[in-house]
C-alpha cells in the first residue's frame, strides 16, 4: 500500500518532467510543470496522513483527538500559491512569444545558441 502511494508520486513527477522535455507547445510546457508540482503536493500530504485520524480542525472537537499533520498542509498551501505564480509568468511569456513570432513551439524560438 505504501509503495503504491510513493510510486504515484514518482510517476507523476517523472511524467511531468518528461512532458516538459518533449513539449512542442509552451502552454503544454507550463501545464507539464504544474503536473510535476502536483507530485510534491501528493507527497507532502501523504507523509502527513494517519490512519483513522481526522482533519486538524478542533472546532467542537475534543482536544487530543488524533489528527493528521497540519504542518504539511500549510506547506502544501504555500506550494500551491508558488506554483500558480510561476505558471502565470510562464504563460505570460508564452503570450509574448506568440505575439513576436507567431509560434509557441520552444524549438522554433531559437535565437540564442552557442
Amino acid at each position: 500500500m505504501t509503495i503504491l502511494v510513493y510510486a504515484v508520486v514518482a510517476w507523476v513527477f517523472a511524467i511531468g518532467i518528461y512532458g516538459a522535455i518533449i513539449s512542442r507547445n509552451l502552454i503544454h510546457l507550463a501545464l507539464c510543470l504544474t503536473v510535476t508540482q502536483s507530485s510534491t503536493y501528493i507527497l507532502l500530504l501523504a507523509l502527513g496522513y494517519k490512519h483513522g485520524a481526522r482533519a486538524p480542525i478542533f472546532k467542537d472537537v475534543k482536544l487530543g483527538t488524533a489528527a493528521v499533520d497540519p504542518v504539511v498542509q500549510s506547506l502544501t498551501l504555500t506550494d500551491v500559491v508558488v506554483s500558480v505564480t510561476v505558471i502565470a509568468l510562464v504563460l505570460a511569456l508564452a503570450l509574448d512569444v506568440h505575439r513576436q513570432s507567431g509560434s509557441i513551439d520552444p524549438d522554433d524560438i531559437n535565437t540564442l545558441n552557442g
Partner: protein
Amino acid sequence: MSPRQRLRGWIAAPVVALLGGILLWGLSGAPAFGEFHGAYGDLLNRIAVPQRHTTNVVTAIVFDYRGFDTMGEEFILFASVVGVVLLLRDIREPAGGQDDPVASDAIRLFGILMVGVILVFGLWLAAFGLVTPGGGFQGGVAVAGGIVLVFLVAGYRPWRTFGRETLLDPFEGLGAASYVALGLAALIAGAPFLHNLLGPGTTGTLLSGGSMSLLNWAVAVEVAAANLVLYTEFLESYLVPHLRTS
C-alpha cells in the same frame, strides 16, 4: 517532428524513468503510509488551540507559527503579478467603448444569483478561516473568482468597473504592505517580528487569534487583488482583441 526532437524524446524516456526510479527508491525508506508520528505536527495539534485560541491548526501555522513563510509567499504572488503586468504591457489593449452584450438571459440570471453568493462565500471563507477550514488565501481566490464571473455573465463594461489597475493596485500593495507593517509594528514594540500584539481572542469565534486575523485579512485582500490583476492582464492581452474583431 524534427530529428532533434525525436532524438530528445528517445533519450528522455529512460533518463526520466531512472529519475523517477531513484526518487521511488529514496521514498521506499520513508515511513509507511498512514503511520505518521511527527513530533512537530503532533505538538502543534496539541498546543495551537490553548496557545492561540484558533481551532483551525493549519491556519494557526500559516499565519502565526510559520507566518514568516506566508509573508514570503504573499510576496511571491505579488512579484509574479507585477512581472505579468510588465511582460504583457505591450500587447494589451484596454478597450474604450466596445460593447459585447451577453446574449442569453439564462446566463444573466445565473450571474445575478451566483456572483453575490460566491462573494459572500469567499468573504466567509476568509473571515472564519481561523475557526473552520478556510483562510485568507482561499477566501481571496474565491472573491476574485466571483468578480471574474461578472465578466462572464455581464460582459466587458461591467467588468471594467472592477478590473482596472488603478483600482486594484492600491489594494494589492495595501495587502502586501500591511502584512509587513504588522510584523514591523511588533518589532517596534520590542517583540520579535510578527509577534502577536493583540490578545489571543476567544476560541471559535471571528475574533480568535489576535493579530492573526489581521494578517489573515491582509492576505485575503492581497490575494483577491493580485488574482484580479492577473485576470485583467490576460483578458486584455488575449481576449479583448478577439472580442473587438469578432
